[in-house]
């Protein structure tokens, strides 16, 4: 690999989003900015090996991309308001000629564009990965389990929508910031989750996505250091990432949180997560991500005390329940209650969501129910619940784990035939 290619790739990794943000700032044309930047990278790979790598590769790319953008504008000018465009051209041309000494970091505004309420929530995370990190549609598609062509179409449609609807390129005003930031954080978390759901870590692209999401989380924290939920999200992702390797045993078997070896967790990541969560807590504005991070913190305290802090976990899930109205949270609270106040109390909490249609096809509900019923000695009912859980689980390793648990019931008492 040539020095030119290596330099180009390094700049792409560090500065892709910065360059896109700078290019899109005044035109509002995301697709055009992407085309211009990819032309500039192509020009770099053609010219640098001959002429040598420039002193400031990023500025070189910015200048060339800006010139490509001007070409785009000239081509399009004819059908639009000529006077307005000529003024813009003059303005753009001055900037291009002067050359950017160093371009300002406007990636935060870019993230707010990608997670704008007028953009379909399902496409916000892919759009952010594409635009801020420069990931190609095929990699994003594979992480979100969507056909590459479909993902490509969705991204193009979203980019067109940004332009024609006039979504502004700016960081929202303080009064609208909390709502708008939540959408940005949700999108980052969706990207992280897409990477996280490959527990075997066999697919490099998906594992990388978790790393990229953490990178985006760091970016938001560095640009908005006083936003407690941004700190909470980064902490949450780091707690989860710290345990990644311990989710599978040597033979690829599923290892639940309670049976993971705390010594194998990444202590540096946990330490950083604890610091972030502490910083967020000092700001006095609790939110969903901080609560979820705090729950992780109460779990990983086991590495010091030998036991998860179930009292704190129960209290935190109750707080989370109040802000999310999700049966998933109630299921988790039921598990905590079983630890703090006994199996019967846990089953009573679980019973409160039994009528909720959303849990009927939700594997963790049936697994939790089966586990608590087994501890209560209701072997036959537990066996039924395990069967439901196994039937709903797509991951073979988890299925195997549940099957072993179900077989273990025989040790308690022979289950009723089913």
């Amino acid at each position: 690999m040539t020095a030119a290619r290596l330099t180009a790739e390094a700049v792409a990794r560090d500065s892709y989003g910065k360059l896109i943000a700078w290019l899109v700032a005044r035109t509002g044309d995301l697709a055009g900015a992407e085309d211009a930047l990819s032309d500039a990278f192509a020009a770099a790979l053609a010219e640098w090996p001959e002429a040598g790598v420039p002193d400031n590769p990023r500025a070189w790319l910015a200048t060339v991309a800006r010139r490509k953008q001007l070409d785009q504008l000239r081509r399009r000018r004819t059908r639009r308001d000529a006077a307005g465009h000529l003024a813009l051209l003059a303005n753009e041309f001055d900037t291009a000629r002067a050359g950017p000494a160093d371009i300002p970091d406007e990636r935060l505004a870019l993230m707010f564009v990608c997670a704008h309420p007028a953009i379909d929530a399902a496409v916000r995370a892919p759009l952010m990965l594409r635009t801020v990190l420069g990931l190609d549609a095929a990699s994003i598609a594979s992480a979100f389990l969507i056909a590459p062509a479909t993902m490509g179409q969705r991204l193009v449609r979203a980019q067109t929508r940004i332009k024609v609807t006039g979504i502004p390129f700016r960081v929202p005003e303080p009064e609208e910031l909390p709502d708008r930031l939540e959408a940005v954080l949700d999108a980052i978390y969706a990207a992280f989750a897409a990477g996280w759901t490959d527990p075997g870590g066999t697919e490099v692209r998906r594992r990388d996505l978790a790393v990229e999401a953490i990178w985006l989380g760091r970016l938001v924290v560095s640009l908005l250091p006083a936003a407690p939920e941004a700190l909470g999200l980064l902490a949450l992702m780091l707690y989860a990432e710290a345990r990644r390797a311990t989710r599978r045993g040597a033979a690829g078997e599923y290892v639940p949180l309670a049976e993971q070896d705390p010594k194998a967790w990444d202590q540096t990541m946990i330490g950083e997560a604890e610091t972030l969560l502490h910083r967020a807590g000092a700001m006095g504005m609790a939110g969903r991500f901080q609560l979820e991070a705090a729950i992780q913190s109460a779990h990983v305290v086991r590495r010091l005390t030998g036991r998860s802090d179930w009292v704190a976990i129960e209290r935190l899930y109750a707080a989370l329940e109040a802000v999310t109205d999700s049966p998933v949270v109630t299921i988790n609270r039921a598990i905590a209650v079983a630890e703090t106040r006994g199996v019967e109390a846990g089953l009573a909490v679980l019973g409160s969501v039994a009528g909720d249609k959303r849990v009927l096809e939700y594997q963790p509900y049936w697994a939790a129910l089966a586990g608590l019923l087994a501890r209560a000695g209701a072997v036959s009912a537990s066996d039924d619940a395990y069967r439901r859980a196994i039937g709903l689980e797509p991951d073979p390793a988890v299925r195997q784990f549940l099957t072993a648990k179900r077989a273990g019931l025989k040790g308690i008492n022979p289950p009723a035939s089913s």
Partner: protein, 115 residues
């Protein structure tokens, strides 16, 4: 950018309002339009008569068909519109949010296609 704010609402409910309620609604729209005018964003706007006054026209196979009634029969119908000129979608959305019709129906915001 120019945007059209299209005000959709339940015509039957609108027809059933008392005179006092109707007066309040008109006053609210008056204040809203005045605020947009003072902000320099208002380009035009009108209230539409109900769809019972609609007539549709189409030409198929060289033959013109005229029908009484709206194009689509739905519970919520276009009842009026405002044309505004604002910097971006966020500004258009914040005006749409202030429209009295947003709390009784739906405001659809569409950018004008400049040729």
């Amino acid at each position: 950018m120019q945007y059209l704010l299209m005000i959709y609402g339940d015509e039957a409910a609108m027809a059933a309002v008392t005179e006092a309620e109707g007066g309040k609604m008109l006053a609210a729209y008056g204040a809203y339009a005045e605020a947009m005018g003072k902000a320099g964003v208002l380009q035009g706007g009108n209230r539409l008569r109900p769809t019972s006054a609609s007539t549709t026209v189409r030409i198929a196979n060289g033959k013109t068909t005229v029908l009484d009634g709206p194009y689509i029969e739905t519970k919520e119908q276009l009842g009026g519109y405002f044309l505004i000129d604002v910097p971006d979608l966020d500004a258009a959305l914040s005006w749409a949010e202030r429209c009295p019709g947003a709390s009784t129906g739906v405001i659809e915001v569409r950018p004008i296609w400049t040729m």
